[in-house]
């Protein structure tokens, strides 16, 4: 079951990537592929008696009236005079695989993965607590994110949260929301979710393209990032591994989350969002499977990012809300970046304490 999806995966990604620039051109519906196979199906006359075929007076030309082998014709496009998408497909079997993956593995494993990640974060918080500054705040502030960076971040963040919540309603809601909300209420919620999801999705794609362009310059991987990741940045020990403006995990979130999962979500999301491009069912089934798996991974990684950016680390949330961090915070968490800023090699400015309320207080 899975290997047929694996085989089609590469073809879909390539095809979708190539097709995107021509999306506008593809708005006009393509004619259905009704090309006859041009080949008489090899069909042994089942249950036919020899004496019948050579019946006296028969004008039958042998091989000319045998019914098709239904098992083999069902998957191939045939002829249909009814206009519409894939009306000439008698039966499609891939829907069964899609159903099994969608209802089975992805819903169950994906749902439990989100629950497990939430539980792991909770356990981590209970053991480790908020990572506080070791030294006293200096009161001198460094601009960590400028207004453009913050606007880009929060556009991505709000879109992400809306997409994740509406996606969860549509994907898991049948099991976790419907039982207590009832059919009418849940249907209303899901219709709202679907429309929000469909319209916020393209906005999110725009936001991550802008986010990529803004943040890519400080996210190139260096040798220190591998050292950082090898030690998990000191998350499980007390020593902090040196890092630049962004540490190993932040770069992993950038390349793995924003770039890789972002592309996967964007390509498959566009295939699903615009049925008027006349894409076939198997493209949409495959896109849906990839979209669901990538979404679960994105949500899990996003939970980790949200945790570290809020209650996980003192001062991190204020850095993205107000744009400033204390010098002590920079020295403890991003020492290489701090040194460059001090040396005047970076655009970020150091300002006095009076400019902003002291970050790191909450």
């Amino acid at each position: 079951m899975l290997h047929t999806y694996a085989r089609r995966f590469a073809a879909l990604i390539l095809g979708a990537a190539l097709a995107l620039p021509f999306a506008a051109a593809a708005q006009s519906p393509a004619p259905p592929t009704t090309a006859p196979t041009g080949k008489v199906p090899d069909n042994p006359a089942r249950g036919m008696q020899a004496e019948h075929s050579s019946a006296t007076g028969s004008t039958a030309i042998p091989g000319w009236n045998n019914p098709p082998d239904w098992a083999s014709v069902s998957e191939r496009p045939q002829y249909a005079s009814i206009p519409g998408r894939e009306t000439n497909r008698l039966v499609q079997g891939a829907g069964r695989e899609w159903r099994e993956l969608h209802n089975g593995l992805i819903t169950q494993a994906g749902g439990w993965l989100v629950v497990i990640v939430l539980a792991a974060i909770t356990v981590f918080y209970l053991i480790k607590g908020t990572i506080k500054l070791k030294g006293a705040p200096t009161g001198r502030l460094i601009e960590r994110f400028n207004a453009v960076e913050r606007a880009a971040h929060w556009t991505m963040a709000i879109c992400f949260v809306v997409l994740a919540l509406t996606g969860i309603v549509m994907f898991f809601g049948k099991y976790i929301v419907l039982p207590w909300l009832g059919y009418a209420g849940f249907s209303w919620l899901t219709i709202v979710s679907k429309n929000l999801h469909n319209f916020v999705g393209p906005l999110f794609i725009f936001a991550i393209v802008v986010g990529f362009l803004i943040f890519v310059k400080d996210n190139f991987l260096h040798a220190i990032d591998w050292r950082w990741m090898a030690k998990f940045g000191g998350m499980f020990s007390s020593e902090e591994v040196p890092s630049g403006r962004f540490n190993g995990l932040e770069k992993l979130w950038f390349w793995g989350g924003l770039v890789l999962l972002g592309i996967a979500m964007a390509v498959t999301g566009l295939i699903l969002d615009f049925p008027n491009w006349n894409q076939a069912r198997d493209a949409m089934q495959l896109a849906n499977v990839v979209h669901d798996i990538a979404a679960v991974l994105f949500i899990c990684a996003g939970l980790g990012h949200i945790y570290m950016g809020t209650i996980g680390m003192q001062g991190a949330y204020r850095a993205m809300r107000d744009g400033y961090v204390d010098e002590e915070w920079a020295k403890e968490h991003h020492v290489l970046w701090y040194e460059e800023v001090k040396a005047g090699k970076r655009p970020e400015k150091i300002v006095g304490a009076q400019a902003q309320p002291a970050p790191g207080d909450d």
Binding site: H52, N66, P68, G95
Partner: protein
């Protein structure tokens, strides 16, 4: 209780599209939606057959299994119906259905899917029987009138059979047993066997 099914006898179907037309006419189906369609296999080639396809009212219905809002239900006659008030137009039933039965009238820009529409086996929907709302959303409720689906009733060659599964299966089995298949269906011998007026030897040697 009955288990209502369709059988299309491909040996009888003449691709007249009468079933499609009967359905559209009976239910005033929206533009662009065809609850029933004809597929011609091996078109123009030896062994060409046509077959009429619509919702097959599956016993283990994939649409029902994948619907995120659980809008499908089964009647006492085992007919698979859905509630358009609950449907969100996500298209999952269309991905899952082997027969391409669920269809979506376009509800807005970018191909936004409207409420799903499919064959109701002429059994209406969850609205009150014979109400205007039921007709507007689902079409005529012939089952409640004690009639069979319009497509099967209309079929000129009685290729399309509708009814309780054991009953129509028996009809179909009888036909298969009586007529044979393949080469046996073709030629003078089959058409005029035993006739006094046409010589059984007319086409001999072909």
């Amino acid at each position: 209780m009955a288990r209502m099914k369709f059988i299309c006898d491909a040996e009888r179907c003449i691709e007249c599209n009468g079933c499609t037309t009967a359905c559209k006419s009976e239910h005033e189906v929206p533009w662009g939606v065809n609850r029933r369609r004809l597929v011609t296999v091996n078109d123009g080639l030896p062994g060409e057959r046509s077959i009429s396809v619509a919702c097959m009212h599956c016993t283990d219905a994939p649409c029902m299994a994948v619907c995120p809002v659980d809008c499908f239900y089964r009647t006492e006659e085992q007919i698979v119906l859905h509630d358009k008030d609950l449907c969100i137009g996500c298209g999952y039933c269309y991905y899952a259905c082997p027969f391409g039965a669920p269809q979506f009238p376009q509800a807005g820009a970018f191909g936004l899917r409207g409420k799903m529409d499919k064959c109701t086996y002429c059994a209406g929907g969850p609205e009150e029987n014979f109400s205007a709302e039921e007709f507007r959303k689902y079409g005529r409720n012939r089952i409640a009138e004690g009639k069979l689906p319009a497509c099967a009733e209309m079929c000129s060659t009685k290729a399309l059979l509708a009814g309780d599964a054991p009953v129509i299966a028996k009809i179909y089995k009888t036909r298969v047993a009586t007529r044979g298949k393949g080469e046996q269906l073709w030629g003078w011998a089959m058409a005029y066997k035993g006739s006094d007026k046409v010589s059984d030897n007319l086409g001999a040697g072909a």
